[in-house]
């Protein structure tokens, strides 16, 4: 590859990236409008909750946690594959990273921002949420450090901080690079945000030193945050929750759902911005393999969980697991098995893995499956507690359904805004790839483009 070709390729990358930042078309606006509408509906539902009380939901004794906590766990899970995968790809110097790293990291931050809303909505007296935080106060009281909920707050706060910094640091060179190519408010924004990064050798050197630290911290943190979230459940005495398998199970589930979300988003990005050259069939192939592997892990976990419950002595625990599969929520249970264990098996075929529609469909199924999986274990364990007399059932109320959908609206809205405001491909890294590898850019006409 000669210098001219390289310069051409570099120009291409910059152009393609800038293309994603151009004034959006009507479809974008429509989509954004839909997402804003969903978010607004959620705002209304939350206002209702605050005004009238949590009775607006259909939670009850004994099912005191319902779809809101489900959504919290789900979105924390979604956040997983972003930073974690991106950091792993960084360390393995994978050619995948330039393509998927940025959107995955953004997805993480946005997902945590979404997830964090649910525990707030869910509080009986949301206006005192800050009592959960350790801050010096005249009451002389700290939060209860025995409580997994407090660990949860620390874990999630750490994770969102590191993820945001990781995303931001990775974006510094791009902001600096692109600030010269854009105009008006975007130029000012990029200039300010690039913190004067000029791409000098010393700056790059510092960045190269700092970046792995964040990446290195992000990986164990990603594992820990979902382990800690799982302890909200595993640290209790509730049959079906109280289990040592929960931490790895949650992490696996999180990576699984996060990956599915990443695939859906990348498929949409590629489709919308014709980024076929950057987000390639090979990438989908690799992600599909990982998705398949996680699906198998999930199946393993389900079987382990079920058999260990059956082998353990507690009749309450046995009853919960049998009830999940046969009771009032059996439909959800089998939907979960179908979406999380069976549908991903299609990915054993190479053609499926490399097909955009197929992978998008499978991933969507996994997302549905994972949401309901969270719902299933949150609700069924509470509904089928130790005391049969005090059992109950729970079906989300309208306000709760709206709030759950609003989570997706809020998530989608932030993501749509992100891809229009910030570069969703890593220009610098793609360029590095261009210069380091040869040939970096595959020809535009590739057989799999036909699937797109």
């Amino acid at each position: 590859m000669n210098a001219t070709q390289q310069a051409d390729a570099a120009a291409h990358v910059e152009q393609d990236t800038l293309a994603t930042l151009q004034t959006p078309g009507s479809r974008y606006w429509l989509l954004l409008l839909g997402m804003v509408a969903l978010t607004a509906a959620g705002g209304w539902a939350w206002a209702l909750l605050l005004r009238r009380g949590l009775g607006v939901t259909d939670m009850n004794t004994p099912v005191m946690w319902g779809s809101l906590i489900t959504s919290f766990v789900f979105f924390i899970g979604i956040s997983h594959s972003g930073t974690l995968v991106s950091a792993i790809l960084y360390f393995t110097r994978s050619p995948l990273r330039p393509a998927i790293g940025r959107s995955a990291e953004a997805m993480t931050v946005i997902a945590i921002l979404t997830a964090g809303l649910y525990p707030l909505m869910h509080l009986g007296r949301a206006w005192f949420f800050f009592w959960l935080l350790p801050y010096p106060n005249q009451r002389g009281l700290w939060p209860n450090f025995h409580s997994p909920l407090v660990w949860d707050i620390f874990a999630v706060c750490c994770y969102v901080t590191i993820s945001a910094l990781f995303l931001y640091m990775g974006m510094l060179p791009d902001l600096s690079l692109l600030s010269r190519r854009v105009r008006r408010w975007r130029r000012v924004l990029y200039k300010v945000l690039s913190l004067g990064f000029a791409g000098t050798d010393s700056e790059w050197g510092l960045l190269e030193k700092a970046y792995p630290i964040f990446a290195g911290v992000a990986i164990p943190l990603a594992v820990s945050v979902h382990s800690v979230v799982s302890w909200d459940f595993a640290m209790t005495i509730i049959p079906g929750w109280h289990s040592t398998i929960f931490a790895p199970y949650f992490v696996a589930g999180a990576i699984f759902s996060g990956l599915a979300m990443a695939i859906v988003l990348l498929a949409l990005l590629r489709r919308a911005y014709r980024l076929d050259r950057y987000i390639r069939a090979d990438h989908f192939d690799v992600m599909a393999k990982l998705l398949l592997a996680m699906s198998l892990v999930m199946s393993f976990v389900y079987v382990t969980e079920f058999t260990s419950a059956m082998l353990r002595g507690s009749p309450a625990e046995r009853a919960v697991f049998v009830w999940r599969a046969t009771g009032r929520y059996a439909l959800i249970y089998w939907l979960v098995i179908l979406c999380n264990c069976l549908i991903p098996l299609f990915a054993f075929r190479r053609r499926v893995r490399r097909s955009l529609p197929w992978m998008a469909a499978i991933s969507a199924a996994v997302l549905v499956g994972m949401w309901f999986e969270r719902f299933m274990f949150v609700v069924t364990s509470l509904a089928h507690h130790y005391d049969p007399f005090a059992w109950g059932v729970y079906v989300p109320s309208l306000a709760e359904v709206v709030l759950c959908l609003a989570g997706f609206g809020w998530f989608g809205m932030l993501f749509l805004l992100f891809v229009k405001i910030f570069p969703c491909l890593s220009v610098a890294e793609t360029l590095q790839g261009v210069t380091a590898e040869s040939p970096a850019m595959p020809p535009l006409t590739e057989p799999e483009a036909a699937h797109a």
Binding site: W131, L132, H146, I237, H385, D387, A390
Partner: protein, 933 residues
């Protein structure tokens, strides 16, 4: 600042008028507000003996039902806040039932009449408030017209036994009427028992069952706890029988009622076959006793002959009870000390009830129970019957009717005739506390005091004279019924024989002042009377007995009594309705009980709505499938069954054939229980009756107090008084049927019902569950805000204003004992005045639960500290334990080896709920004895 600018204080003419207008309007609006009490504390300068915040007890009597139990009203800051049983009163012995506990709610009910009302005038849809001068004038006018036209004045009253009942007679006499122009409205009176007593012994009175004196008691469908006016007295008696291994209580009936659940043995009888069973038993007794017994020889011979005649012989043969069982029972009733046969109760009473009651009376005679375990009440004062009133009214002879706390119209078709008769009476005045269905048809509504605001007395049993005294100033513009009567007589100038002065003065003269603080005069129990002689032709009724029509057909409708609705009249109290029926766990709503086999045959499940049709009417109810009902019966609680009962004038429980069909609707029942049985969990323990259990090791004293409560499952009869007491004491919210159906009841203690035993012979165990105050409480570590923590007295405390409502604690509670405030529950004025000032009212968004009545613990501790001593054993009693008639709940310090609770905790029957979780609860359960027959 320029000179032209006005000073901000100066007032322009315009703004003066604007502000004056605003002030005037506000003042006018404020003046228009309703006459409701507006002060948190009703007085500025209290009486000398009132210490703010310290409750003062006043003795009075409960008027929730005719049992008239003695009570102690706890009055704090001038307002009654809680009712407790009077420990000196022989019937209540310190306890009150569910209805008694809820009676205080009526005092502060927003629906209560706040003053006299006149009927709507000039097309207005609602009755209009009038003042008392006007009300008295109208009342006197109405009476004058009746008297002037030579028509009768009649009083229709609820059962009254004291001075007021006497006064009614005197008043009628003063008006120139017969003193017997009183109709006692007591729809639930088992008249078949009185009739049988009249036919058999020539005594026109209700029998009294002396359970205490009997060793073996057999109930023929008699639901003593539910239906005999005093769940307190009978609950205590049944618990005493269960606790004594030498005694037996056998229940023979078609339904596993609360009473049947408390029995030591049960015999299932197909509805309509009760007579067969009694005859079979009679035969066995006669064979067994030989020539002994109280039965005269002639009657005995006639009886033996009768038992061999048809249809009696066939009925006895086909009663469906194994003859060995009948023989055993006959032996137990005759040999093992005094026996007693109670009944027939309401669910056994069909059209042949009188004959059946006579058979039972003869049986009691044969086993030698008459006079020893069966006595007779004093015959009631002469009175008109409801039928007489209808007849007189139809004939146009009644000119004025004074209704005193009676609502026949509200009972539906049963009293249709009476309802129609009201329209033919020119002047109807209703004295009462509520604008009920009957009061709506009256020409004048006179608002009476609540019993807690007025004087009175009641003589229920011989020698038991309970005093009723006002415990607080009346809340509303009400007047005592007696004063209204006396006033009217004065206006008519007919005061002859009537006391001068007010009823309050009269009562203060009449009641012994020295006994007022004790709540009444209670004589020693009367010695057993001699057995009454059997009347001539006494057996004719029995001989004329024919099997009831329709018993061959299935199913039979049983209208079952409920202690929540005394006398079969639906309770108007939200609290009574909120406390679930212990057997079905259904609150507020009615239901129709079906046996699983019958339900399966008709493809029905719990919650399916069915339409029931009898000869008299039809109604729609949700199905409740339960093994506690005979396969050939459908049971409906009385208040809901009234539409299905004919105009019988008496609420008989075995109504007759019923047909039903599914309407296709499915309802979510407002029930708190979701499982009929324990699903293999070992929650409610049962031990064989003869088991000798090794005592449990005593826990090591720690030197620190450990409050604990013992729950004796052998004694609990599921009456629900503890639940109601807890609601009142702890300001628990009443949330209504919709919220209960959504699983949001706010009860701190619930009675769990589990069916045990085989499906063919089910038993019932009641398991009261409250916060277990665990030593190692799972709720405590999970709260992020430290809103729940452990006190050094072993209590698991909840700090409401620290709680932010994560609800993690409730999730992690293995006993599901915590309740969350999903809303700010409404407490409309003046209901808020009845709140216990010692207990915080929880706002929405916070968790709450049983505190072991920590306010009572603190009060006792403060008292002990002032007196420089330790808290004594028995000094602290939580509201639930205080009102438990069966004494199933015992509270105390578990760390004190001499306390009653620690003694019980060492008993072989002691266990804790879900012991395997290692939560070390502070609630000790004592296993229930299985049945003994």
């Amino acid at each position: 600042m320029s000179h032209e600018q006005r000073s901000p204080r100066s007032l322009s003419r315009r703004s003066f008028f604007a502000q004056a207008g605003l002030l005037g309007a506000t003042g006018a609006l404020a003046a228009c507000s309703q006459r409701v009490p507006r002060f948190i504390v009703p007085y500025l300068v209290p009486a000398d003996d009132v210490v703010p915040g310290v409750p003062v007890g006043y003795r009075s009597i409960c008027r929730g039902c005719p049992a008239s139990c003695g009570l102690t009203a706890q009055v704090m800051n001038g307002r009654a806040i809680k009712l407790e049983g009077n420990p000196e009163h022989p019937a209540s012995a310190g306890a009150l039932c569910l209805v008694g506990q809820a009676a205080i709610e009526e005092l502060y009910a927003p629906e209560r009449l706040t003053g006299p009302l006149a009927p709507p005038a000039g097309g207005a849809p609602h009755a209009v408030p009038i003042d008392w001068t006007e009300a008295n004038r109208r009342f006197a006018d109405g009476l004058r017209q009746a008297i002037d036209h030579g028509r009768e004045v009649v009083v229709l009253t609820r059962p009254e036994s004291g001075a007021l009942r006497e006064l009614m007679g005197q008043w009628l006499t003063a008006l120139g009427q017969p003193a017997g122009n009183v109709v006692v409205f007591d729809p639930a009176e088992p008249i078949w028992l009185r009739e049988a007593a009249r036919f058999t012994f020539g005594i026109d009175a209700q029998p009294l069952w002396i359970l205490e004196a009997a060793r073996t008691v057999l109930s023929i469908g008699a639901d003593l706890v539910e239906d005999y006016g005093s769940p307190v007295e009978y609950g205590r008696a049944l618990a005493a029988i269960r606790a004594n291994r030498q005694r037996r209580f056998v229940y023979a009936g078609s339904r596993l009622s609360l009473t049947a659940a408390s029995a030591t043995g049960r015999i299932a009888i197909q509805p309509g076959h009760e007579m067969g069973f009694v005859l079979a038993l009679l035969g066995a007794v006669l064979t067994h006793t030989g020539s002994s017994g109280m039965l005269p020889a002639g009657a005995r011979t006639r009886l033996i002959q009768l038992l061999q005649e048809e249809p009696h012989a066939t009925a006895a043969q086909n009663c469906g009870v194994p003859s060995s069982r009948v023989r055993d029972l006959a032996r137990a009733l005759t040999d093992a000390g005094p026996g007693l046969v109670v009944g027939p109760g309401r669910v056994a009473a069909g059209e042949d009830a009188t004959a059946l009651a006579q058979a039972v009376a003869v049986l009691n005679l044969a086993i030698g129970a008459m006079g020893r375990t069966v006595q007779f009440a004093e015959p009631a004062a002469p009175a008109l019957s409801a039928a007489d009133l209808v007849q007189h009214a139809d004939a146009g002879r009644v000119g004025a009717l004074v209704i005193h706390h009676a609502d026949p119209v509200g009972l539906g078709p049963v009293y249709d005739a009476l309802g129609h008769a009201l329209a033919k009476i020119p002047f109807v005045a209703a004295i009462g506390c509520r604008l009920d269905e009957t009061a709506r048809r009256a020409h004048l509504v006179l608002a009476d005091h609540h019993p807690l605001e007025s004087w009175g007395d009641a003589t229920v049993q011989t020698g038991v004279h309970g005093f009723q005294q006002p415990v607080m100033t009346p809340l509303h513009n009400t007047r005592a019924a007696a004063d209204v009567l006396i006033d009217a007589a004065g206006q008519l100038g007919r005061t002859g024989g009537l006391p001068s002065g007010t009823f309050a003065e009269l009562m203060q003269d009449r009641l012994d002042r020295n006994r007022l603080a004790h709540g009444g005069e209670f004589a020693e129990a009367t010695p057993p009377a001699a057995s009454p002689d059997i009347a001539d032709g006494a057996l004719d009724q029995l001989a004329a007995w024919r099997p009831p029509v329709g018993t061959g057909q299935v199913p039979i409708l049983l209208a079952t009594p409920s202690l929540r609705h005394p006398g079969g009249i639906r309770s108007a109290s939200p609290l009574v309705q909120e406390v679930p029926d212990a057997l079905t766990s259904v609150a507020w709503s009615g239901w129709a009980e079906l046996h699983p086999n019958l339900a399966r045959a008709r493809s029905l499940e719990t919650g399916d709505e069915i339409e029931l049709v009898t000869a008299a009417g039809r109604t729609r109810l949700p199905v409740f499938v339960t093994p506690g009902i005979h396969e050939t019966a459908v049971a409906v609680p009385l208040p809901d069954a009234t539409a299905l009962l004919g105009p019988a004038g008496s609420l008989r429980g075995r109504v007759g054939p019923v047909t039903f069909r599914a309407t296709g609707r499915r309802l979510t029942l407002p029930q708190i229980g979701h499982s009929l049985d324990q699903q293999g969990r070992h929650l409610a323990h049962e031990v064989p009756d003869d088991a000798e259990l090794p005592a449990r090791a005593a826990p090591k004293p720690t030197g620190r107090r450990r409050w604990a409560i013992a729950v004796d499952l052998d004694r609990c009869d599921g009456c629900g008084a503890c639940v109601a007491a807890c609601y009142v004491e702890n300001n628990c919210a009443v949330v209504g049927p919709e919220e209960i159906a959504r699983g949001r009841d706010m009860a701190w203690i619930r009675i769990q019902r589990f069916y045990t035993g085989s499906p063919d012979e089910p038993r019932v165990v009641f398991l009261p569950v409250m916060c277990q105050q665990c030593t190692d409480a799972p709720c405590e570590p999970v709260c992020p805000a430290y809103a729940t923590y452990h006190t050094d007295e072993g209590l698991n405390a909840q700090i409401y204003n620290r709680c932010i409502g994560t609800r993690f604690c409730s999730n992690n509670c293995a006993y599901s004992a915590r309740r969350f405030n999903w809303f700010d529950w409404p407490r409309p004025t003046p209901a808020n005045l009845g709140l216990n000032p010692a207990v915080t009212v929880r706002s929405r968004g916070v968790m709450e639960k049983c505190t072991f009545c920590v306010q009572r613990i603190r009060r006792a501790e403060e008292r002990a500290k002032l007196e420089k001593r330790q808290v004594r054993e028995g000094e602290v009693v939580p509201a639930c334990a205080q009102t438990c008639a069966a004494q199933a709940l015992i509270f105390g310090d578990l760390d004190d080896p001499r306390s009653r609770i620690s003694e019980l905790a060492r008993s072989g029957r002691a266990y804790r709920l879900l012991e395997e979780l290692n939560t070390e609860p502070g609630v000790v359960y004592l296993a229930r004895h299985e049945e003994r027959v």
